[in-house]
């Protein structure tokens, strides 16, 4: 049985599966790519052929155009198995955003799982993470320090709604990454009983429409246009993190600047960013979830792609796992604020 390190390796383009001749989430254009999810640092344009879940392909088309940035797309649903050369490939839900998948690869009796980005907390907009037993588990470590414990998302949503009640004459603007975070916040607000229209920055509208098409109901969402100033008072507006404290936000009345991100756990991050109401809502696993996942998957060997790999490997080693840092550079181009 060949050890995965003999057939899965890091090349300048990214993580490469030799016997199947494809890259996973390549950082540079390649002939054949498997894409775990549609965030721009994982799904880049310019590949020859792309294998991903149908949801990820749909979101990629919204982002980069119907031609998928020049690639030929092939959709494969969760749980379906595809033979690529001598490798059997399966995509399994990762719980990160709609369509996000772990890549499960079986080759001559050995199995590696590349989890992409993932979380374990409940998310009404995507299928939950499913642990798959394997020989090597490739994980992220975005929040790989024990200071990161994300509170339950409904608690943070309640914090936002309390503030809306306390400041009815102001507009609450929430910085949220356009893909995944935004739709999750909308769905959580709906679950918490907020039925009023939710207003969106222009960058958020097309992805929300795609989510709706893919069966995720978001309720009444409207563009936060300049003309709507008065109608935005007492309402919730979602916008990219880069827009909430810049010129775009001048259309809002005395805004309460909020940011939904796992980094908001650290006060100084909120203070430095001028965030009045930090909301600790993340699409990534927090520290306890990372450790829990190592136990659930039970792989004797852990490879860490990006994030705080030293700390996670340190903790994994203490729990009896073998840890290895892949040092893949380029997976947080979308900015820390997206996490």
């Amino acid at each position: 049985m060949p050890h995965p390190e003999t057939w899965l390796c890091v090349r300048p383009e990214g993580l490469y599966c030799k016997p199947a001749d494809f890259f996973i989430d390549p950082l540079r254009p390649v002939a054949r790519a498997v894409i775990t999810h549609a965030h721009s640092d994982h799904a880049r344009p310019g590949h020859g052929a792309v294998l991903a879940t149908p949801e990820t392909l749909a979101l990629m088309r919204t982002r980069m155009g119907a031609d998928l940035g020049g690639a030929k797309g092939e959709g494969i649903a969760y749980g379906e198995t595809l033979a690529v050369g001598e490798v059997r490939v399966r995509l399994v839900a990762a719980g990160h955003v709609l369509g996000s998948a772990q890549v499960v690869m079986d080759y001559l009796g050995s199995r590696a799982v590349v989890s992409g980005d993932y979380k374990r907390a409940a998310d009404p907009t995507c299928a939950p993470f499913e642990p798959v037993a394997c020989d090597v588990f490739v994980t992220e470590a975005t929040f790989g320090l024990p200071v990161f414990t994300h509170p339950p998302a409904p608690v943070e949503i309640a914090k936002l709604l309390d503030s809306v009640r306390l400041f009815p004459e102001r507009t609450h603007v929430v910085g949220a990454y356009a893909l995944g975070k935004t739709q999750r916040l909308i769905a959580l607000l709906r679950q918490a009983g907020w039925q009023a229209p939710i207003y969106l920055h222009g960058a958020h509208l097309p992805l929300c429409a795609t989510y709706e098409t893919l069966g995720v109901a978001l309720g009444d969402v409207l563009p936060a246009t300049v003309a709507a100033r008065e109608s935005l008072v007492g309402k919730i507006v979602l916008a990219p993190p880069s827009a909430i404290a810049d010129r775009w936000a001048r259309r809002l009345t005395d805004p309460v600047t909020c940011l939904a991100s796992g980094w908001m756990r650290v006060r100084q991050r909120a203070k430095a960013g001028g965030i009045e109401l930090p909301l600790i809502v993340s699409d990534h696993a927090d520290w306890p979830e990372l450790l829990q996942t190592l136990d659930d998957v039970g792989a004797p060997e852990i490879w860490v792609t990006h994030g705080n790999e030293e700390a996670l490997i340190h903790a994994a080693t203490a729990r009896g796992f073998r840890g290895r840092a892949l040092r893949l550079v380029g997976y947080d181009d979308a900015g820390e604020e997206a996490a």
Binding site: L145, P146, V147, F148, T149, P151, K159, L166, F167, R170, A245, D246, R247, A249, R250, D254, V256, T257, R265, V266, R267, Q268, A270, K271, A272, G274, I275, E276, L277, P278, P288, N308, E310, A311, H314, A315, A318
Partner: protein
């Protein structure tokens, strides 16, 4: 503690005054006694502990966490209390967190050796926000970004919500006679009890303030209605002394007694006096920078007191003994002040002399020629004005001498806060040095109109040469005419000089940057 912890977090992050008031009022309305009173004490700086040292907290956390992971986490977070609050194993959260009252009572009760175990128990039963507030509170490092005055304004708003007309000044007058957790105060503010009687406690009386005199106001003044005094360049203080105790209060009701033991020992009388705190030698007032050496020092050394001798120049009397003089007009109070002074002759104090004049034109030239250190301009006080707290219109005028100005070059711009968070509204400017390089001399945040701010903001965005986080360095192409009150020597600035109260007077779009002022010009203005 839960509501208190989230109040602290929001106050820390909220820039707006009205929003801070709303947060505090909501807290007072939804929390109960005595917890809200202890919280009020924490907000106003009346409650602080030194029950735990940082080393103890660190040891407590390291008992439960891998040392390497703790070190990496502390490196990442940068604040010890916050690191511990975040890293504290959350699995054990079971009970409800302690109430603020419980924390206060227990910390006073248990011996120091038992504090670590007590604290660990509290941390176990609290979420991260409460752990943070708790750790900050017991290490005496809790900061909420709220002034005592703002807290009192929120209390007045809370009373208004209960249908009671109680002004912040009304609260001020009883405040220093009260102690945490202020239950009689909350009884009063909720209509359940009478106004707390400060009796002869040394309480602060809200001061009467002056309006700035504009050129347009000048024509309407009749000289026979006014007395004139010099406007001294120190800080306004209220001296309160009597059988109930002695206090020196700042204009903002802060008790600054501890910083001025040299004054405190001379308060052996029974009166409430209004005056200017100065550093002076043989009656000659030193520049403000010397007084600054004495401010914010909890216990000044004997050498400090000798090097920067403090004194008070008196200009009003509010109480003589127990007699409230505030209903008398200025002329009558002045006569009482002079008589009181002649009788008591307190050391380290003198009277601020009246400046005689017959015509307003005389004042104009007096003000124009007032350039000596220690004088900021003139005060005009209506002879018939009673002593009214706040800033009543047309009673007292402050008439500062014309500011100095310099033409400086914009060097860096930084985004503002709150409503200005999308604007580059804070400007660092400099003047030319001998080697034809610019050297920063100050930073200004005010003085421009909204339209000018828009234009500045877009100029800055279009002329950025480098970015450092929220700061942009810009091309050396825009001249700002900067007004300021004085130039002082400074070792903290590269230029060796600091401007007092700089603000933007004009935007000189027309002026080439090379023609801006030079450092030697600034140095000639140093006091």
């Amino acid at each position: 503690m839960i509501a208190f912890a989230s109040l602290i977090e929001r106050l820390t992050l909220t820039p707006g005054r009205l929003a801070k008031l709303a947060l505090m009022q909501n807290f007072f309305a939804t929390e109960v006694d005595p917890d809200r009173g202890w919280a009020l004490a924490a907000l106003t700086g009346e409650l602080s502990f030194d029950a735990a040292k940082p080393a103890m907290i660190r040891a407590l956390a390291e008992e439960r966490t891998d040392a390497t992971l703790f070190r990496w986490s502390y490196d990442f977070v940068g604040d010890l209390a916050e690191t511990v609050s975040l890293i504290w194993s959350a699995e054990t959260v079971s009970d409800t967190p302690p109430s603020l009252a419980e924390v206060v009572a227990m910390l006073r009760e248990v011996p120091k050796s038992e504090v670590p175990a007590l604290l660990a128990g509290w941390l176990d039963s609290s979420g991260a926000d409460v752990r943070y507030a708790l750790l900050k509170l017991i290490t005496g490092a809790l900061r909420a970004g709220v002034s005592a005055r703002l807290a009192k304004t929120a209390l007045a708003g809370f009373a208004a919500g209960n249908g009671l007309a109680i002004a912040p000044d009304d609260i001020e007058e009883v405040w220093h006679g009260l102690t945490p957790p202020y239950t009689p105060l909350f009884d009063w503010l909720t209509g359940r009890g009478p106004r707390p009687d400060p009796a002869d406690a040394p309480v602060f009386r809200p001061p009467m303030l002056a309006h700035p005199l504009e050129a347009a106001d000048l024509a309407s003044l009749r000289p026979e209605d006014y007395a004139a005094e010099w406007k001294w360049d120190g800080i306004r203080v209220q001296l309160v002394a009597g059988p109930g105790g002695r206090r020196i209060f700042s204009r903002g009701a802060d008790d600054i007694s501890g910083s001025f033991p040299d004054i405190m020992e001379k308060l052996d009388f029974h009166a409430v006096l209004d005056g200017e705190l100065l550093v002076a030698r043989d009656g000659i007032v030193a520049p403000f920078a010397e007084l600054q050496q004495r401010l914010n020092r909890k216990a000044p050394s004997a050498k400090m007191q000798a090097d920067y001798p403090a004194s008070v120049r008196l200009y009003d009397i509010l109480f003589d003994g127990t007699e409230d003089l505030r209903a008398l007009d200025f002329a009558a109070r002045r006569a009482r002040l002079e008589a009181w002074f002649a009788q008591n002759r307190p050391a380290r104090m003198d009277l601020s002399p009246l400046v005689p004049f017959d015509a307003i034109s005389e004042l104009v030239s007096l003000r124009a020629n007032a350039r000596e250190a220690g004088i900021e301009g003139l005060m005009l006080k209506r002879l018939d004005s009673t002593y009214v707290p706040g800033r009543p219109r047309g009673k007292w005028w402050k008439w500062k001498r014309d500011p100095l100005t310099l033409d400086c070059v914009l060097m860096y711009a930084q985004r503002g806060h709150g409503k200005r968070s999308s604007f580059y509204s804070d400007y660092t400017f400099g003047v030319w040095r001998d080697d034809d390089d610019l050297v920063p001399v100050g930073k200004a945040y005010s003085g421009y109109t909204d339209e000018e701010l828009l234009r500045l903001d877009s100029w800055i965005r279009n002329h950025t040469v480098a970015r450092f986080g929220p700061v942009r360095e810009v091309e050396r192409g825009l001249v700002l005419e900067v007004a300021f009150d004085a130039a002082q020597r400074s070792t903290r600035h590269k230029s060796g000089v600091a401007l007092r109260f700089p603000r933007i007077a004009r935007l000189r779009w027309d002026k080439p940057a090379a023609e801006a002022d030079r450092l030697e010009t600034v140095m000639r203005l140093v006091q």
